[in-house]
Symmetry: none
Subunit: 144 residues, 4 copies
């Protein structure tokens, strides 16, 4: 798994890890039941303290995204996102508003903005399909 930390963004490192792992899970690049990188090696790879990764994982666990078995490792859960519908909608609305405000600040028109949204939806969809295919290929190779 390839994560990228921006040390200057001001967004806490542990939240950057949380967001990116949520994204990886959402995109299908990591399947339910699969194991996440262990805390210590990941911390080393990201040039970050062990505890920072641990905090990200603990946050993900309390969000119901992963499951952690002490002494064994951390694993992606099956039924994540058991949040109530209203709460989920609020979370998403906040993200959308932020993008719209950014567009407004940058003087991007409503039409340009919508065009860009469709473009990104397609781009990210393609990426997700790519992941699924590569997993299929792995499976097929193992079968042979």
């Amino acid at each position: 798994m390839l994560l990228k930390i921006n040390f200057k963004s001001g967004l806490p490192i542990y939240l950057q890890i949380v967001d990116q792992i949520k994204a990886v899970a959402a995109s299908g690049a990591l399947r339910p039941g699969e194991s996440l990188p262990s805390i210590r090696p990941l911390a080393e790879e990201l040039h970050v303290n062990r505890n920072t990764v641990a905090k990200a994982y603990s946050e993900l666990e309390s969000l119901g995204v992963i499951e952690t078995l002490p002494g064994r490792g951390c694993f992606l859960k099956e039924n994540h996102s058991a949040l109530r519908k209203a709460v989920r909608r609020k979370l998403l609305t906040d993200e959308i508003d932020q993008a719209i405000v950014q567009a407004h600040h940058l003087q991007v028109s409503r039409d340009e903005f919508l065009k860009l949204v469709h473009e990104r939806l397609n781009a990210l969809d393609d990426k997700r399909r790519g992941h699924e295919e590569s997993k299929e290929n792995q499976k097929n190779q193992e079968v042979r």
Copy 2:
């Protein structure tokens, strides 16, 4: 100027203010020499402590983006080239991607997502018009 604070994003509030004002300045929506909202009303509008807004402005001043004239207010400084279109587009794309990933994670379908985007565009448009009207009213009151 329409600013939006996300209290749960983890990004320090004063940095959210800094970023958004930088974006407004970068886009050319605010011209050099024009005045920024003063601290007390802005703090009230954003439901944030005055110290926090003051910290954002002081940060912007030390970055050379604005200039504070004690007793008179804060003004956008001269030397600010608007960002190139590609860079602005990248900033916006990042925000959009984040919203899309959140939607995936929350298992919101593409159609629901687009519906929500339109909804928010309208909602925020209304809000902005509300602001402008109230400003108009203020002006009219001052005129009397």
Copy 3:
């Protein structure tokens, strides 16, 4: 309030603080509604990091012993110890067992042990009464 930390005991510092404040509260030396020492000065007095004291206070809050009002301070709660009876009994049993095992290890006989228990009950009772009297005196002095 006078607290004493043993840096070599192996018992986490924050728990030593928790235990001693519980003892102070239990003994009547601190009354419900009264304020505890602020985190920063207490940390300095004990030669301990601010966070260590903060962790102790946060533990005490989650135990329902104190109440913390951000920006104002920490205060002893009225109805602390709302633990279920079975849980309380278990906690106490553990403490008693520890004392009995210590007596056994030190080859103190059952009768000697019981004599010592009565002695300490009386000693600590006297101490508590002392606190209450000194508070009464304070009140009376204020009244005059």
Copy 4:
């Protein structure tokens, strides 16, 4: 030897073992040259990992309290003066005070507390007798 671990006390388990074995040695209940329980059964009895008991023994060895003869077991070393009576009494008093303070905090009355003390004395006596009997049985089996 009867050891009791308190898993919630915050004191590291290996230190609880160290302290209690030091107490047994200090009281003279275990004589120089006598053997300590071996690691594996003790770990099982205490519901603790073998590594943890091993760490306690290794700590005791480096303190010079015991001696490990690989393949043969662990033995109490010679040079150990029993503690003076006053010191032993102080150690015990501390434990008793802690239990009394806990009782105060949990709003357990003096009579309830004393009742509980007697109850635990009997309970732990029974347990110890149980241990001794099972040892007797083992001996008898060995004799056969």
